[in-house]
Symmetry: C2
Subunit: 208 residues, 2 copies
């Protein structure tokens, strides 16, 4: 039996367009016959390398104003719940991403990740504090306190740093990003469908 | 008879994604029953206000590398000719945009604009020098030298400056941008279809 093609989905919990992709990719990937590997990471260190100390949507106000409106329009067009704007934005996603990295090979990674996005962007809840992350884990039937403690181990912190450097070395500069087996990079929720099509072997006509 | 809804298409000759939109919008607008007003402008002064002295695709190399690949993929998926990369990038678009501003109410504005984009992004030609712009005008059966001279008048230069300030005051921060009669702003070639749908009265379900 042929191996199912895979697509890596690199996402950041503070990223608005990662929220849109996270809530759509399972259904779209199933239709495309593609298996998805969820890759949580942090974009902050990549932004810092290009001199940005916060989200570009804060640094460039006109761009930010349009993003919130666009985010709201896109969520509505996908039939997702109305958007709530996290306060502050961006949320500090360090505790959540450490847990996701710890859960990388666990069957709760995807439901946990979607629950974090929903808390932040559909329910107006903070995801920054340890207690917020514990509450999300608990709601999934896990022992949140224990998972958070394990996620704070030095070994797991190193795993997160390695993931961020892997992202950088593979050309990632923002989130969400989709990477195919043959190294093709697609940036942004807007490219999810093309990334899945590419992963499943489709190519735009005439493309070298 | 009801007035046809209109959509403003703000574009910059140095902008890669403006090229994609310029070659697609006429057909898409006809299907949507929307009349398009072509609005040439310069993004440089807007970028300068946020501290950028050149294209963000040059300032942020990983983003730039992906843009060229994405641009190539998107052009192929639309059935447009293969992309050529202008050297240097971005091209100085001042002469071309002055001509377009001068031609704002002329029936040659659209063919001229598409010809400039094709020269730059499909034929690998420079669009920066006066002679390049004259050649494009001549190829459309106009008197290029005379048009270029008229476009360099103080009145026309002022008209361009006013357009750029209009763009800024209406929330534009990049190109291409689509603006509807009711002030809804859509940024980027990826939003052309949504902008046309909005202009024709469609709204995402549940959107306030």
């Amino acid at each position: 039996m042929a191996r199912q093609p895979t697509l890596e989905f690199w996402y950041e919990f503070a990223s608005t367009y990662s929220h849109l992709a996270a809530h759509r990719i399972e259904e779209a990937a199933e239709k495309a016959g593609v298996s998805v590997r969820w890759r949580p990471f942090l974009v902050g260190p990549l932004f810092a390398s290009q001199g940005w100390t916060t989200s570009p949507f804060n640094l460039f106000p006109a761009k930010g104003r349009n993003m919130w409106r666009d985010f709201e329009r896109m969520a509505a067009s996908y039939g997702l719940p109305p958007i709530t704007k996290p306060d502050p934005f961006p949320q500090n996603s360090l505790n959540a991403v450490r847990v996701a990295i710890f859960g990388q090979d666990q069957d709760w990674l995807v439901p946990f990740s979607k629950a974090v996005f929903s808390a932040s962007f559909s329910k107006g809840q903070s995801i920054a504090e340890p207690a917020a992350v514990v509450a999300i884990l608990d709601s999934l039937g896990l022992d949140g306190t224990q998972v958070l403690r394990a996620a704070a181990s030095d070994a797991n912190k190193t795993k997160l740093r390695v993931s961020v450097e892997e992202a950088r070395s593979r050309g990632i500069f923002g989130a969400p990003t989709f990477l195919t087996d043959d190294g093709e990079l697609f940036w942004g929720n807007d490219r999810m469908e093309q990334a899945l099509a590419w992963a499943s072997g489709e190519r735009p006509p005439g493309l070298r």
